[in-house]
């Protein structure tokens, strides 16, 4: 699952200044306009490559970091059905990461380099995973609403211009639709369950409301996304449009179950646009800059995995004459 690519204001500025071979650029842009997919060997502007790497890499990191808050609940899932669903779901997320790192590698950056940039803090991942999953009800909220938000984003991105990324997203969206089902099922069970279960869920919904508003990134008024990203079909919908689509799809479902949201200003206008209270964008910026409740913990787990597993990777890379073929 995934939020929206975070683009630093400086990059957006540089992109607009970049110069490329004019003739190639014209052919390239005409292909995108015709709806053709760009493939790894094709000519592409340096900025296109760079922004795509950034975006796919962020998406891949979001998958493997996103596996962590839910992953800690696999061992605590309350029955066989939930346990088997959750472990399969989290495994899918890791698989999505693997698939996306491969898609990004077609653009010339290795998985090792991407993981190194994740651990050093150079690359970002979806901000939403810097919040903790404090209770089992948080797992339900993540499975239903965070995955729901991610699907809005991913279904749109599937129509992008880069072939390998679109094909990866096709499979990802297919699997995510099952994740949403398991999240929804868990969510409904708690919402219609015992008083304790309902209270747990309401508290979790309250906790996740703001991070969910942040999920699609800053308001269009304040975000620096360039026209070029839209023209090159790297970005296909604005942050506000996606956020509105998400709210429109999910807020009524939450209300239907008798739950409340901690925002008195939240309402749908007649024109279909949702209004909400100040989501505190300063907090969003603080968390994405590294100062959220779980940033350090998430990176620490990844660092542990990389460091503790280094001997395995090193040994597997070792060429040895005695080794012929794997048994499998």
């Amino acid at each position: 699952m995934y939020g929206n690519a975070y683009i630093s204001p400086e990059d957006a500025k540089r992109m607009n200044e970049s110069t490329d071979d004019a003739e190639n650029l014209e052919i390239f842009e005409a292909r995108i306009t015709r709806g053709e997919k760009i493939e790894p060997g094709d000519w592409m502007p340096a900025e296109y490559r760079k922004q795509l790497i950034r975006m796919i890499e962020q998406h891949a990191h979001s998958e493997i970091v996103g596996a962590l808050p839910e992953g800690t609940w696999i061992t605590r899932a309350p029955n066989f059905r939930r346990k088997l669903a959750l472990i399969a779901k989290v495994q899918d997320e890791i698989g999505h990461g693997q698939l996306l790192y491969s898609a990004a590698e077609t653009l010339g950056k290795t998985r090792e380099q991407m993981l190194a940039d994740l651990i050093s803090g150079k690359s970002k991942y979806s901000n939403v995973f810097n919040y903790p999953a404090l209770t089992w009800a948080d797992v339900a909220v993540i499975g239903f609403l965070v995955d729901g938000a991610a699907i809005v984003n991913q279904v749109i991105n599937q129509k992008g211009s880069y072939g390998p990324y679109c094909r990866a997203l096709e499979r990802i969206c297919y699997e995510e639709s099952f994740h949403l089902k398991q999240g929804h099922d868990n969510f409904v069970y708690l919402a219609t369950g015992s008083p304790k279960q309902r209270a747990m869920l309401q508290e979790a919904v309250n906790r996740w409301y703001r991070p969910l508003l942040h999920f699609f990134g800053p308001s269009d008024r304040d975000s620096q996304h360039s026209e070029k990203l839209m023209k090159w079909k790297i970005k296909l919908a604005s942050n506000d449009d996606m956020r509105n689509q998400f709210l429109d799809q999910y807020i009524p479902k939450i209300w239907e179950l008798g739950l409340t949201l901690p925002d008195p200003e939240l309402k749908r206008n007649d024109n279909g646009i949702w209004e909400f209270g100040d989501p505190d964008w300063a907090e969003f910026k603080r968390v994405i800059s590294g100062d959220g409740p779980c940033n350090a913990e998430r990176l620490e787990v990844r660092r542990y995995a990389e460091e503790a597993g280094r001997w395995v990777r090193t040994a597997l890379m070792n060429k040895d004459e005695r080794y012929v073929v794997p048994l499998a």
Binding site: I94, G97, Y101, W136, V301, R310, T314, L327
Partner: protein, 250 residues
């Protein structure tokens, strides 16, 4: 009847506990592919546990699988201590997976001929799944055995540490003679011999040695309800959510 129940309980508990342990690798493996592999194997194992508890439920009138897994006390579990140990580092988890899954493969292979039909049918399906677990373990053992000085040393240490625990998996139960005479199961002693004949050449071909172990060192106890200090905390974690509201449906 007691004999078959005893067999089913220990197999189900083994599968549940190793499934729990293997699932802990999700997100922290040495590479993404190993996260995926351990997660897949954990799913299979938890599924096997469910199927075995379900036989206990349907054929013997025991409680339903969720109750058996999530609402039984520690002393009622019959898992081997080997499977309760924390995942440690990858070297230990790999070796445990290698040693235990070969035992599982041979166990289910023999149970496919069991006179107890529900178990025979399940075994035919399960042995096909465990075949892949074993292939995974063998591949990594072979590659890491010849990979580097460090990988070789780490795996040999893990084999040495694990061996007495692995032999403990074959701790005989109270009804071995009956299981054998009724054709339900070949018995733990016979299974252990098959296992030694299977794993020893693989270990040696990968460049490792099998440690000498005396019978006193073999870690028994699990089959009689005597567990390592790790099982209680594992079960506390596993039942944490259920216990918030024990009568609720989750």
């Amino acid at each position: 009847m007691e004999a078959t129940k005893e067999l089913l309980y220990k197999m189900a508990d083994d599968a549940l506990i190793i499934g729990h342990r293997n699932s802990e690798w999700t997100g922290i493996g040495p590479m993404l592919e190993e996260d995926l592999a351990f997660s897949s194997m954990a799913q299979d194992k938890i599924g096997h546990a469910f199927a075995l508890y379900n036989i206990l439920h349907t054929a013997f009138g025991e409680a339903d699988p969720d109750t058996l897994a999530f609402k039984r006390s520690e002393k009622d579990f019959r898992s081997a201590q080997f499977l309760e140990l924390p995942i440690g580092e990858y070297d230990f988890s790999l070796i445990r997976h290698f040693l235990f899954d070969h035992a599982e493969h041979l166990r289910y292979d023999s149970l496919a001929q069991s006179t107890f039909q529900p178990l025979a049918q399940l075994a035919k399906k399960v042995k096909g799944e465990i075949k892949y677990h074993v292939m995974h373990a063998d591949t990594f053992l072979k590659q890491l055995g010849k990979g580097s000085e460090e990988s070789h040393a780490r795996l040999q240490s893990a084999i040495n540490y694990s061996w007495p625990y692995a032999l403990g998996v074959f701790e005989p139960g109270a009804h071995e003679a009956e299981l054998i005479s009724t054709g339900t199961f070949i018995g733990e002693e016979a299974l252990k011999d098959l296992w030694l004949a299977r794993v020893t050449p693989i270990i040696e071909a990968a460049g490792f040695s099998v440690p000498a172990t005396t019978q006193e060192q073999v870690v028994y106890g699990g089959r009689k309800g005597f567990h390592s200090e790790h099982l209680a905390s594992l079960l506390a974690e596993m039942t944490e959510v259920t216990n918030i509201d024990i009568d609720a449906e989750w």
